[in-house]
Subunit: 480 residues, 2 copies
């Protein structure tokens, strides 16, 4: 039985076996208390070893980090902090942990624990994070399944570049510096494994659209890659992305889906991870105490999550947002580092002002200038509301995180799409299959992408994205 289940039992002296890793051992005269955790829950089960029951030989081996099985009787606990405990009659030591075990019971820095990513799951903080990560992932699948979406596994190795962006990892079986050459001196990729140049995908969207234009409602949930040399607390070279794509959805439907979806998964975590969230909230409060009063959050972690679940997201156009920003105090006082003008790509400082100062809630910005968005976004009819051409894009901005979702209605007009493809310099031959869906039974459709780690970051309240994925991949970082 797992510790989580044992803690739910009604104690009446029944026989029980608890298996797990020793967190602490405290000795008093004639009695020893051992706290055991098996990762099923943040709580430990306490084993009580009365004098003479377990041999000194075995007791000596029971140190922090050791793995043991305790057999005994489950009784109500007299001590504070737990409702039940085990009166041990037998202990088996599966594996010892000598004094070189790095996770001794004291505070470790997150930096130190990142170097011990193979063991950090055994700490309270990382146990909580990865149980919450699981719950969020399951909530994603449950939400889409319950709403009639089909999970589509789009390819990881790809010969196309969804964003027209560039920074991709090359995938090859050529030996380094020994790729064969074609007659004209270029690399002869016809001899490579796939017979062409291939990379790791940056998005499953284009293939997702193929699925949506047949099955109506699909979503992806898989790894995506960026070979950007960004060593920040917000970027990973390998991260998981969720990309729903829906036929017959226009921009408004897409916004409704995004808001409903993200509220659902956060609510799911609130309902299913109460213990772990309470622990992380406490951890965060401790951490905040070391900050100056001004830099502390106005809301606690749980309050922040509840606030997002309970309030409507603000929906405004990019054009309206720029007007707000131009009239804002920081703009008047020239406190923004980047000047605001219609047509610029909004910077983090602008997004934060809108979300954290002006509206004080999540914001969905829509109808961005065409020139700062991807080629596949549907062009707005020119209705005079904006100074220049716009597209049906939407970005969902979250407090502390910034952009958590980016999406759009997709261009479904063949001629307009082809023109944009050519304008941005993509060879139409490379994505003939994508273009063909606009020739054969095209339909209005929309979708978005949510970076899963940014969601986990938001829900756990952690500050560094490397702490919410088991084994982070980043520049010069591929250990484990």
């Amino acid at each position: 039985m797992q510790v989580k289940e044992i803690l739910l039992q009604k104690p009446d002296g029944q026989d029980i076996v608890a298996k797990g890793w020793v967190r602490t051992k405290r000795g008093q005269a004639n009695i020893v208390f051992i706290n055991i955790n098996d990762g099923s829950t943040i709580s430990n089960i306490q084993a009580v070893v009365e004098d003479g029951v377990i041999s000194e030989d075995i007791l000596k081996k029971i140190t922090t980090g050791a793995c043991i099985a305790v057999t005994g009787k489950l009784v109500a606990s007299a001590g504070a902090g737990q409702s039940v405990e085990i009166i041990a009659s037998e202990i088996e030591v599966y594996g010892i942990a000598d004094e070189t075990f790095p996770m001794q019971p004291k505070k470790h820095s997150l930096e130190f624990l990142r170097e011990k990513a193979h063991l950090r799951f055994r700490t309270n903080t990382f146990g909580a994070i990865f149980r919450i990560r699981h719950a969020l992932a399951f909530a994603v699948h449950k939400y889409y399944n319950d709403n009639g979406f089909f999970y589509l596994h789009t390819p990881i190795i790809t010969a196309s570049d969804a964003e027209g962006a560039g920074e991709m990892f090359r995938v090859s079986t050529f030996e380094a510096n020994k790729a064969p050459l074609a007659e004209d001196g270029s690399i002869d990729y016809t001899q490579d494994f796939f017979g062409r140049e291939t990379s790791l995908t940056v998005s499953g969207q284009l293939e997702g659209e193929l699925g949506a234009l047949a099955l109506s409602k699909i979503y992806t949930f898989g790894p995506t890659f960026r070979a950007e040399n960004s060593n920040t607390t917000r970027h990973l070279a390998e991260f998981w992305m969720i990309e729903p794509e829906v036929a017959f959805y226009e921009l408004e439907d897409n916004m409704n889906l995004a808001e409903d979806f993200v509220k659902y998964v956060i609510k799911y975590a609130l309902e299913n991870c109460a213990d772990d969230l309470a622990f992380l909230e406490k951890r965060l409060l401790e951490e905040e105490k070391s900050k100056p009063q001004n830099d502390r959050s106005e809301l606690s972690l749980l309050d922040k999550l509840k606030f997002v679940v309970e309030n409507d997201f603000e929906r405004i156009t990019y054009t309206e947002a720029v007007e707000i920003l131009i009239r804002s105090k920081p703009a008047q006082k020239k406190q923004f580092q980047y000047e605001v003008a219609w047509g610029i790509d909004l910077q983090s400082e602008h997004e934060r002002y809108l979300v954290e100062k002006h509206f004080k809630k999540p914001v969905i910005l829509t109808n961005y200038p065409k020139d700062i968005k991807a080629f596949y976004m549907k062009q707005d009819d020119d209705n005079g509301a904006a100074p220049g051409p716009t597209v049906r894009a939407m970005d969902v901005l979250f407090p502390g995180i910034g952009e958590i979702i980016g999406g759009s209605q997709r261009e479904d007009n063949y001629e307009k799409l082809l023109k944009r493809v050519e304008e941005v310099g993509i060879d139409p031959e490379n994505i003939w299959w994508y273009l063909e869906t606009r020739k054969f039974g095209s339909a209005p459709h929309s979708g978005f992408g949510l970076g899963f780690e940014r969601l986990v970051l938001f829900v756990t309240g952690m500050g560094n994205i490397r702490d919410v994925i088991p084994f982070p991949r980043a520049p010069k970082t591929a250990e484990f």
Copy 2:
């Protein structure tokens, strides 16, 4: 409302809008019938267009493959084959499909459809396959979530080689043939993105074990890669694998988990995909008619699935299997291509004999010779039952598929594991983190891997693995 939901409505002339792709249009005097499918279900909704209601201009555009929205009243259908239909009052054409649309209503070969993978989702067969694939994937997550497992995202880009196998895809940001050299003339990987040589993972197991030795029960479900030049109906270069890993599980628990799990997901498909499975069963029966009597399956698709769900898997050791094979008719008559002897890696012909002829049900083979299995498998105590040293391995063999699951109890003894690592020629420094888990709180643990596409192949009854993944990756194949 999606077609699936419309078909469940009680028809009493209510207003309804159906959106989807035209499968067929049949005209009679004064009346036109249009069959529309939106991928939500294998069934179509029929729209009835009475004389003069819709302009000829619009009707002309409604051909197979066009995408339309039909507005009208939902009534009970007089015709055979559907219970409700829509009496159209208005039709909007979203996208036409001219006569070059490749999916015309006639039989297409699977080979042809593979070249049209961007459109094949719109056929009955592939609609059914990918809805079933979704249901199986959801069942996987639901099974593990309901049983207290945590979903662990193990890394895709890796600097280690879990199987010690070799055939991996290289991942790099070096320009082809322009990798910088170190002083000794070797490639200077310290200048590559990750500062070392990296590849695409062949398995998440080693990292999965790190999770299990802290969280107790974890599973992975993600893409894995093999750069094998195998152009077969059973191999892909990119495929999805499910790998549970459980602390405190021994081989027997591992077998119980594998059997319970695979039965659960097949049962889930039987209960949730009845329409699609019925369609694929019919398709298979048609296909079988063209085969000689002897080559036809004894069981229909549904009977085969029910048989697996309802019967215990046979569990025998490798040593017992070899004895059965040596005594078998094909061995006596020298009909096996490869001779059977203790110590050989069993060939497909041997596995098929055991599963399809001898036991006529799924078989779990255990306790294989150490020399033909991976370094991380736990060594059996020498109990004299086998002619040589064995490990606590298990392979689950399925009719028609062969090995669908491979797993083992893992070596948890540090010295034994280190010795095997060195024997097979892996540099211990490369997996120091893996070895360390056997130094600090080691525990008995077990796990297995299930190739998701092989499961989908089995459940759908399809013959080629490229037909059960949206966009297959194989030698010379990376289109879409």
